[in-house]
Point group: none
Chain length 196, copies 4
DNA sequence: TATGAATGAGGCTTCATTCAT
DNA sequence: GATGAATGAAGCCTCATTCAT
């Protein structure tokens, strides 16, 4: 291992904090718990972080990094045959689950924190809404759809299912991606002829 | 007004607490703030509630009451013509928004609280999932749908849209109900022939 | 006693804090000591003061009040016969000792505190320097005297002697006033004819 | 340079500490600041000093050294003509300012420190008071003067003016020496015939 | 029905100091 | 001769809770 001892300690603190924040929320997580779980003393915490809020923000920065990969998700679906569109979109959902599911803790934390959740959620929602509006212009997405509502919905669903099924490993990204794609694409009900 | 002074004080505390819990979260809301906004002293708080957790639980009971009305939501869609099914389900979503939107604060609080959110969410999800499974048996809901995932999704979307659009009064229950019904029923994409 | 219990507690805390600040300095005085000496718990401290700095500032306000009385000290010595001038000035010094000596603790504290000492000292020095400049214009104070240096000196001496002899009750205001008047007025040495 | 690296480091630490102690006071100066300004680590500090108090004491020893030169200041003024006495004493004050002004930082620190200021101040005051008593026996210093009060006053004035005017380089030792000599020797007021 | 006054427990943070390398 | 990493002790402050009136 080429990491120094100090880097290792900081890494450990970040990791433990992430778990605890996700499990109990920011406020309810005490620094004393974090350091106890990391096998350090409270003073050591302040070697690496200026404050409790600081470790939180450092975690968010990591998360923000990961969100960059979202920008490509579902970019354009034009020029694809209907069949391809579906598999394309399904794939897009799988990607979404994969990106957020890669760090379910951070997803949960980031979207819960009073001060930051709005900013972060907006960032994700915006990307999806914009992609969707694009595809709406090409006639792929229905005109009647309010893309912001749809984007909010997609994010809400993803967030929830990540917490509910990925964190617990009850389902895989693929399973969830397919189910969600199905719901949002073809709907839930049978035999509904277009136009009703 | 036939309410005694004591009842009035308790009511006021509950109301103020609800607003603050919704705005700032349970942990970040101080009893000192609640009583200050209610025009009382801290000691008075303890005339009506055993603890901070207690006032929270009393609020949840109120919420649980309201959730009873959910039990009928979307009970059975059999015997309806496809067209009716759609309007029926749309209506069902509007009801869902109405019930949860009637007390957006409580919705937010209840589904956020670390200890209780699971229980409450489960209660709601369960009802919806069961109704859905029923309708699945009658061939109304697609076989491929995992009704629990779908129910979780519906609740997540509703919860989010209530917070995002009802709390701010940017949209009405009807608008949201229709959009959501549309998304979940007919999907988002155009021209998808059944079977792909 | 018409004071409420709360007022009494606050008064006690102020009094104890004053003694400790004077004895050990601001930084070295711990809130735990203040409350221990006042027979209260640490939490009680915060019923009356927002912070350690706050109790300090409230003490300074009291002191500032007392300094108002200084403004008259040594205002004008014109129109007095030389003999009267001397007794007038002696009296002025006695007043100075009396005002500062009335609250020797506050004098010490105020003139020690890093952030405030300059401001407060300046306030006192300014008054004295101005009075002196006035009397210089009337030919009472020697032309060669730099009134700011003289004022600083007078304050320094007073401050020191208050700490050294009044706090310990080794000397009275009158004794000190006379000695100081003598030193500054006629000097220390014998037989120095004017002009040497 | 014949100094070893270790000696150099120690010297640097002493110098930085002196500046910081003078600027911010003993308590408010953190070891972390000292070493940061000296370009060393905290652990290095303890190679040269047993504790924070230790570096302080070592600084005081240096100061004590310098105070030896004070012993001659104003030793005897006998056998001098009145005119000579004045210039002699003036000179004496200049020396006092020079000795203390040579290390204004140390002067400030030493006379501020809770535990040591009494001891050090006493040492200086004592020398001056003794010299003065001597000169009083020879009829040079007025009988009415309480030499201890006078000595305390002289030290207080010197201390203050060093801080106020020498540290800031607003005045020179000579200017201050003359002004102070004037004040204490001939007084501040004009035309006061001896005996009033 | 309410308040004024107080408290215990615990949280976050700082800082002088140590020790293995 | 110096550093990186860590710690123990203590300080300030907050907050839910209690109790006498």
């Amino acid at each position: 291992m080429s990491r120094t001892k100090g880097e290792e300690s900081k890494r450990k603190l970040l990791q433990v904090a992430e778990e605890l924040f996700a499990k109990k929320g920011y406020q309810s997580t005490k620094i004393s718990e974090i350091v106890a779980n990391a096998g350090l003393t409270q003073a050591a915490f302040y070697l690496y972080f200026k404050s409790k809020e600081d470790i939180f923000q450092q975690m968010l920065e990591d998360f923000d990094q990961q969100l960059i990969y979202l920008s490509d998700v579902g970019k354009k679906a034009v020029e694809l045959s209907p069949k391809d569109v579906k598999s394309y979109v399904t794939n897009m959902f799988i990607q979404l689950f994969t990106v957020l599911g890669k760090n379910p803790n951070l997803t949960k934390i980031a979207l819960q924190h009073a001060t930051d959740s709005d900013r972060i959620r907006k960032k994700i929602v915006e990307q999806i809404a914009n992609n969707m509006s694009n595809n709406q212009r090409f006639g792929i997405v229905k005109e009647e759809i309010d893309t912001w509502i749809a984007a909010e919905s997609i994010v809400a669903v993803t967030e929830r299912l990540v917490n509910r099924y990925l964190l617990t490993r009850e389902k895989t990204e693929e399973e969830l991606g397919e189910q969600v794609a199905q719901m949002f694409l073809s709907g839930i009900l049978n035999h509904l002829k277009s136009g009703d």
